[in-house]
């Protein structure tokens, strides 16, 4: 005699309408109930966004180093920390560098480096800066452009010419807005002609200002400024990404042979792949982001328990309403669905507000220079998914309690 005429979808729609009306009747309570979810979702979304921003920043810094880079450091035979890395302890010689260039074809370019800190005097001003002795290939290796002038040539390198390329910060400190190219800068009382100005690159991996430096030929730096015989390190650019490990092996073999290291002796140099370091840092950031996100996720759990609590109170308080609904024709599953939809709606609403808040936090954090956090579609989808799951999980028990009510007792409930 009775057929099922209303489609299930329509039934859900109608029940949703009932649930929305019930929530609207209790605006303040609904808002407070959703607050737990709002805070939980907002913190998950913003932490994920900040994590992404940090990763993006690391990736930017890595790409600002140039691509396919290896760095060879000499390891000191002496144990003194002061001697280590000073260049005096050198077991990495310019002959080694030449041999690498000659024999290892997959090295595209290389630059031995000596650095010192010195006062640069020009234009009547005085500025303490880093003087970097490099090869003519240095800018190509570091993927660094010039805003003015040109880089020194191989010829100027071989003649230990007194030419300099100046960093943007150093230029600003010494010359203000003036064009430094063609000017003279005195380093340790020795005049250098400025032939180029570097483009600004910002803070490096270590946090130091890459733009505060003067680049000169390493030959000039060694012969005329420091008197050192050995480069502190050598930066190499390899032809392609997939040749990195091959290059590392070949260089190791060559240097071991040149340094006459027997099987049992350790390397007296170290080859570092800068991308690997960056990858490690990247991994750590990732792990931290997920860890913090997980802790923030706990507040979602707390929010869910809050929802369950309020839903239970709400079910008890609305016992007579439930009885009335059953009396006028609601089936237990209608009641179940109504309360379930109420809790899911609360959670999704909380989720939406939380996402908006998280988005706001992330937008606020973009004010930090060089930092670009971004809310991913993925984290929005996950936040909504979790909100929905919390709604279903913590709403089910109260909803079932409502649906199981005996209508007669419910109608007489005081």
């Amino acid at each position: 005699m009775i057929q099922e005429l209303t489609s299930p979808l329509l039934r859900v729609g109608l029940t949703a309408m009932i649930a929305f009306r019930a929530l609207r009747r209790n605006k303040l309570r609904s808002t407070l109930t959703a607050l737990g979810i709002i805070i939980g979702v907002a913190s998950v979304v913003s932490i994920m966004a900040l994590g992404r921003g940090t990763q993006k920043r690391i990736q930017d810094e890595v790409s600002s180093l140039g691509s396919n880079l290896l760095v060879i450091f000499s390891k000191s035979r002496r144990t003194s920390a002061a001697a280590a890395g000073s260049g005096q302890s050198g077991n990495l010689t310019l002959e080694d560098v030449k041999a690498i260039r000659r024999e290892i074809r997959i090295v595209k370019a290389l630059s031995p480096e000596v650095t010192l800190t010195a006062q640069a005097v020009a234009n009547g001003r005085n500025w303490s800066t880093t003087i970097a002795g490099e090869s003519h290939d240095y800018l190509q290796i570091r993927d660094w452009a010039l805003t003015r002038g040109s880089m020194f040539t191989e010829r100027e390198l071989s003649t230990s010419a007194r030419v300099a390329v100046i960093g943007s910060r150093t230029s600003r400190e010494l010359f203000g807005p003036l064009n430094p190219v063609g000017q003279t800068v005195r380093i340790k009382n020795m005049p250098f002609t400025i032939i180029g100005q570097l483009k600004s690159k910002g803070a490096g991996m270590g946090g130091g200002d890459q733009d505060d430096r003067i680049v000169i030929p390493y030959t000039t730096a060694m012969r005329r400024l420091t008197g050192e015989k050995y480069p502190r390190l050598v930066t190499l650019q390899i032809h392609s990404d997939d040749l990195m490990s091959a290059a590392q092996e070949q260089i190791t073999a060559l240097l071991r042979q040149r340094h006459r290291l027997t099987e049992e002796r350790n390397n007296d140099f170290e080859i570092v792949n800068q991308k690997e370091i960056a990858d490690t840092v990247d991994n750590i950031t990732n792990t931290l982001t997920f860890l913090l996100g997980g802790i923030a996720g706990l507040s979602l759990l707390v929010g869910g328990i809050g929802i369950m609590n309020i839903m239970l109170v709400s079910v008890t308080e609305r016992t007579r309403e439930i009885g009335t609904r059953i009396a006028v024709g609601a089936q237990p599953r209608d009641i179940l669905l109504q309360f379930l939809i109420e809790s899911i709606t609360l959670c999704l609403l909380g989720g939406a507000i939380g996402i908006a808040l998280g988005y706001g936090v992330s937008a606020g954090a973009t004010m930090i220079p060089n930092f670009h956090p971004s809310v991913s579609i993925g984290s929005i989808v996950v936040a909504f998914g979790i909100s929905f799951a919390v709604g279903v999980f913590f709403g089910f028990y109260p909803a079932r309690k409502a649906a199981k009510m005996n209508p007669i007792a419910a109608l007489r409930f005081e």
């Binding site: 005429l5 209303t6 009747r25 007579r320 009885g323 009335t324 024709g329 609601a330 109608l411």
Partner: protein, 253 residues
Amino acid sequence: MNTSVIELDNLQKIYRTGDVEVRAVNGVSLRIERGDFVAIMGSSGSGKSTLMNMLGCLDQPTGGQYRLNGVDVARLSRAELSRLRNLKIGFVFQCFNLLSRTSACENVELPLFYTNPHVPLRDRRERAIEALQKVGLGERLYNHPNQLSGGQQQRVAIARALVNKPELVLADEPTGNLDTRTSIEVMGLFQELNDAGITVIMVTHELDIAAYCKRIIVMRDGRIIRDEVNAARLFANDQRAALDASEQHASLS
């Protein structure tokens, strides 16, 4: 159509609490014809409320037979019972049981949400307004229960009971929370509905309220002890006029 709206045959409801057996309804046989207006009376514990719950399909008997419109209710599933309540029976309660912070109109729409097949939104609203107009609340469609008097609230509840055009209205102490004047008004409303062909069954313990009905059944200890036509039936219109007159008299003297 010679079937009665309600046919009870030796209906029983026995509760067991531990070893004690409570025979709340103990063998009631009864026929109620279409268009009747019945008061069920009795002291508390007489089984009148239990009987009412079974008549309203909120409770299943433990013995005997209940045929509503010729259909044996015991054979229906829960879903079918829900549909029966929704379409054939209107409920009116002592405490009105309206949803708070919800307009009269939305309260009256409530049963239509659960009507199968689906009643479209526009029809829901139209039928709710029609029912409210029928109970004389056409001016108060969007008031919330707390903005209405007790009598008005009970009329909203009656409109809710009527909105699906039921054959049977079950009222449980409908005037229990109302004063004399509003009680008379509500009884007048029930008399109007009954004149329009709706069968009304009402539980009450007040004799002067039962006096408005066509038939009075008295219960005691789960059985019917008296079932007779109300010879001295009151009519709400006369009573209201009498009340007006007596009040006028009181204010004059």
